[in-house]
């Protein structure tokens, strides 16, 4: 089981133009300039690869911080 810190790092890897230092557990990720539906797909793919969890669109929509999404993934494992 990956820690929250590891999840935050994996989450930040999905962005090309946003510096990893800008992303923390408390970041409200949909407010980031680079956030897009395409990044959302990358996050879903990462959750599948790293956690073997299938996130739904609603899971991403309902989460506001990176930590919220981590909790959703933990709940599905």
């Amino acid at each position: 089981m990956k820690t929250l810190e590891e999840f935050v790092a994996l989450f930040a890897e999905q962005f090309d133009d946003t510096d990893a230092s800008e992303i923390t557990a408390a970041t409200e990720f949909k407010d980031l300039d680079e956030w897009s539906s395409l990044i959302a797909l990358s996050i879903i793919a990462m959750a599948d690869e790293e956690f073997d969890v299938a996130l739904k669109g609603a899971d991403v929509r309902d989460a506001s911080t990176v930590e919220d999404l981590y909790k959703v993934i933990c709940g599905k494992m």
Partner: protein, 360 residues
Amino acid sequence: MAFLEFKNVRIAGIAAGVPKNTISNYTLKQGIDISSDYTPEAFVETTGVKERRCSDTLCTSDLCYAAAEKLIAELNWDKSEIEALVFVSQTADYFLPATACILQDRLRLSKECYAEDVALGCSGWVYGLSNVASLVSTGAIKKALLLAGDAKKRAQMKRDPLFGDAGTATAIEYAPGNAGFRFHFGTDGSGYDAIIAPDGGSRNQVTVDSFALNDFGGKMMHRLQTHMKGMDVFSFGITTAPKSVKKLGDRFGFDYLDYDYFIFHQANMKMNNQIVKKLKLDTEKVPSCMYQFGNTSSASIPLTIVSQLKGKFENKPTKIICCGFGVGLSWGTVAFETNSIIIPTLVEVLDEEADKDHVI
């Protein structure tokens, strides 16, 4: 576990028909055809769809008909020997009757013909193949056609630049001693609304309100249009397709990596790249035609074979795995081997070639 095996049956040939009219996605208008967040170049880069074929006149059956005529001619099949026709589509000519019946007449097949429609989308070619293979494998019926695709919709609507029109024909024949087909199938109807056209069936009948435009995920759509939850479909595709391929190999005791070609339904380049990565496939073994034709629903697998593999495999032993997945949610994977198959060149269909006899 929905595994099936049908022996003594083979694919004799595959043809595909598309409208001659090509639409480029580099000329899409921001905020009209696509979201204002994307330039046309960014849209093409993200989705992988450079152009697609569209007609406001041709129905799916017109494209399948043109493909079937070409295929029957190149196979030199006697039409009187074709005793089954399965039409797979979500864009039938009419609500009633089944389009397979119209195609039996239009193709001048014998009245001694088993004909049915299958209302599936992206998984449909694999499902249709299992239907036809099951009919032919005993030898009771020796020649059959599987016609699959999607084209003009049942109401006027703005075209989604991800999708293109195509109709295909697959000829299946009794072949004693042939190893035939091995299938895996699955269904998850809890995802029924991941891809759905809400109105026009009997649950929600058509009313004037069906045509009212509502905001759906930033796009204005009416309720006869297909509504898709993109993230849910993406998540479904990247998890389900690789599992289905692996399950098929496990069940029948083969290593899927030994296969020569993997033809996946293509809905979105990012999803397909992820599937290839998860299965650790050599990308050279995974042809794609999405850049040229967009998402063509149940036509995508046979259209990829026709447009990308013609000239590469027809007369040598070739092991192929095909996997379709999507609306339903529904998925199917098939493994088979060919060593002699007829692949006519892509048929380009003009609007004037639309059916004129079965019009009321």
